[in-house]
């Protein structure tokens, strides 16, 4: 053994190991990285809020343009504007509904139905969504789907805007049932319609027409109570 080797244990005993720092360097840097992440999160969240406000403004601008185009009968321009409104503000139910309505009006029932089905996923009992789905299903000849959606629309809740009045929905349902020969169901729905019919001549004319149609198709059936005609209404 050399002299150095013999001295080594003595040196170790004499010079104590340096005390490690309480917090390791890597841990300290990791904490700093966490602080950076928190700051970045706060900044990104603010930018996201600003971006959302811009998206809402952009959506409103395009929606107004779509309504204006719709008002002057320019359906293609209206559809393009509603598309942009719905793309800008994807959370807005009125924009989605307007887009679906516009698409259906242009004959793009498939795409309109997809939009409405997506809306129905989040609002299954919304009157207007179900009503529009029912009309698309009726046009496509899917009677069961159409009846189901009409029934949801009749007993649903208004969540997305100004829904059609219940008697309007029921008139369409009765028409659908008569078209497809389900006379018993049509009879029942017609009775219900007569109970809730508003006192307007137009509504009564429509109800009377349906009743006459039912009578023609099934003369032996017990006729529903006659529609109440408002005082001074057209005969």
């Amino acid at each position: 053994m050399s002299e150095d080797d013999q001295q080594e244990p003595d040196q170790n005993e004499q010079t104590p190991l340096p005390r490690p720092p309480l917090i390791q360097r890597e841990v300290a840097l990791l904490v700093i990285l966490c602080v950076i992440a928190i700051a970045l999160f706060a900044g990104t969240q603010r930018l996201a809020a600003w971006s959302r406000r811009i998206a809402v403004q952009t959506g409103a601008t395009w929606f107004a343009r779509g309504q204006a185009a719709d008002g002057r009968g320019d359906r293609e321009a209206a559809l393009a504007a509603f598309r942009k409104a719905a793309a800008a503000d994807r959370r807005s139910a009125p924009y989605q509904l307007a887009l679906a309505h516009s698409l259906a009006g242009m004959g793009h029932d498939d795409e309109a139905e997809q939009i409405l089905l997506r809306m129905r996923d989040s609002e299954p009992d919304d009157i207007e969504v179900n009503y529009r789905l029912a009309r698309i299903a009726a046009r496509a000849g899917r009677v069961d789907d159409a009846r189901r959606y009409y029934n949801y629309a009749l007993y649903g809740i208004d969540r997305t805007g100004v829904p059609p009045e219940r008697y309007v929905i029921r008139i369409e349902l009765v028409g659908l049932l008569l078209d497809h020969g389900d006379l018993d169901a049509a009879h029942d729905e017609l009775n219900a319609l007569l109970r809730e019919l508003p006192a307007t001549p137009a509504a009564h004319e429509q109800a009377d027409a349906l009743k006459a149609r039912l009578d023609r198709l099934r003369p032996a059936a017990p006729s529903p109570a006659p529609a109440l005609v408002p005082e001074g209404g057209a005969q």
Partner: protein, 437 residues
């Protein structure tokens, strides 16, 4: 309690440190990707706005590219293009070392260019930003080289997960494309980072999916023939795009070296002209992909948008702008698929699914053909739809597109782009730099 206060209790073992670092990098890379996407939206709002006059639409890409070109030439030469090839170089050739300046450069050059309407995607740049942030954090912590290298796919998967809201596909993309090894032991770290990134992304942007896709299914066994056709057409389109992109890029590279600074602006002028004809191909364009996925396109519109988007992407990328080809690939895949679906609906003697189903499969087929990551494309579409029903047609079309693309364009696009720059990356294992690299 007393033990917790002793210094030895605070000693963190390397594995624990790496795990904690993975979570933090996942959060930072995810936030970076979200910030990047929001900044592109902000740039788009300021540069184009809601209703820009024609001259603004035409000139904005050129002006944004001119500024970006100066920045790219003078300060950030590594920030050109997609970002995925550079990330692969960092992983395979540079032991995971990326300069933090790369992330800053990519952010500053890609945001105005994509916001101004260049037909480029945000995923590739997000991947490079995420990987650069991860590498910077690792270098700051003085991690050993092998650990630093491991952080590249971690940052990349986190950024992609946040940018595309598909964590599983992001992890697979890192394994399949960045590491080029599906059996890599890094899967745990990439999963942790991707999950962290998606959590913060959803905390900020909400749980809104990137695309609203209805549930599609195979309507008739004969319909598989239509999907086979889509796979074949997708493969041919993939080869055409790759050849076109590489050819146009080579043409720009043959131009005098002093013109390099202004090449992005030349591309910008061309994009401005394209946008005057088809403004729908501007930027990332996911709203039009969504429209195609819901069957909202006419045949001639779908074909026109597919062709114009391909041309616009080739021009934007080949001229040296900063931006990716991931999103454009999905765009023209959706348009091509939608067109095939509309033709099938018109002529097939059996019931066929809605054109949106074909648009969805087309996205996967073009992704498999161009990016050459078939597993990622299958899982990406599955994550978008949450639906197993479409998987069989998707796999059929993907494999055909992949096989045709591999036959006629042997080098995957990112490898071919690197080869043009004089860098060669073998599919597996160590890479060999060319003389120029």
């Amino acid at each position: 309690m007393k033990r917790l206060l002793t210094p030895s209790a605070w000693r963190v073992r390397e594995n624990q440190l790496f795990l904690a670092l993975t979570v933090v990098i996942g959060i930072i890379a995810g936030l970076g990707a979200v910030l990047f996407a929001l900044s592109i939206e902000a740039a788009r709002h300021f540069l184009i706005g809601t209703d820009a006059p024609w001259w603004r639409v035409a000139l904005a890409p050129c002006l944004a590219s001119a500024v970006s070109g100066i920045l790219l030439s003078r300060f950030f030469p590594d920030a050109r293009g997609s970002g995925i090839p550079q990330t692969k170089i960092a992983f395979h050739l540079q032991d995971g070392v990326m300069h933090p300046r790369v992330a800053l450069g990519k952010f500053l050059t890609a945001v105005p260019v994509i916001g101004a309407g260049h037909s480029m995607g945000r995923e590739g740049p997000s991947v490079q930003i995420g990987a650069a942030a991860a590498s910077w954090a690792g270098q700051w912590l003085r991690l050993p080289r092998e650990r630093l290298r491991d952080l590249i796919p971690v940052g990349a998967s986190a950024a992609l997960a946040a940018a595309f809201n598909t964590p599983v596909a992001a992890v697979l993309f890192s394994l399949e494309e960045i590491i080029a090894d599906m059996n890599a032991p890094l899967i745990g770290s990439t999963v942790v980072a991707a999950v962290s990134a998606v959590v913060v992304e959803r905390a900020i942007l909400g749980n809104e999916p990137l695309f609203h896709v209805p549930q599609y299914r195979l309507m008739h066994p004969g319909e598989l023939l239509a999907y086979v056709s889509l796979g074949v057409i997708g493969g041919i389109a993939s080869v055409a795009f790759c050849k076109g992109l590489l050819g146009a890029r080579a043409a720009f590279q043959r131009m005098p070296a002093r013109s390099r600074m202004w090449q992005p602006a030349i591309g910008g002028l061309m994009i401005g002209a394209i946008l005057l004809v088809t403004p729908e191909v501007a930027g990332v364009g996911y709203e039009h992909v969504d429209q195609a996925l819901n069957g909202g396109l006419l045949l001639r519109v779908a074909v026109l948008l597919c062709v114009m988007k391909m041309i616009a992407t080739i021009v934007s990328y080949a001229s040296g702008n900063a931006g990716g080809i991931f999103a454009p690939t999905l765009y023209f895949g959706a348009m091509l698929g939608g067109a095939v679906g509309l033709i099938a609906r018109q002529f097939a003697p059996f019931p066929v699914a809605a054109p949106g189903a074909y648009a969805l499969v087309g996205m996967g087929a073009l992704f498999a053909g161009i990016i050459r990551a078939p597993m990622t494309s299958v899982f990406m579409i599955f994550e978008i739809t949450q639906d197993y029903q479409i998987l069989v047609p998707l796999m059929v079309a993907n494999m055909l597109s992949f096989a045709i693309s591999q036959r006629y364009q042997p080098d995957p696009i990112y490898h071919a782009l690197l080869a043009q720059d004089g860098v060669s990356l073998p599919a597996h294992g160590a890479a060999t730099p060319h003389a120029e690299a």
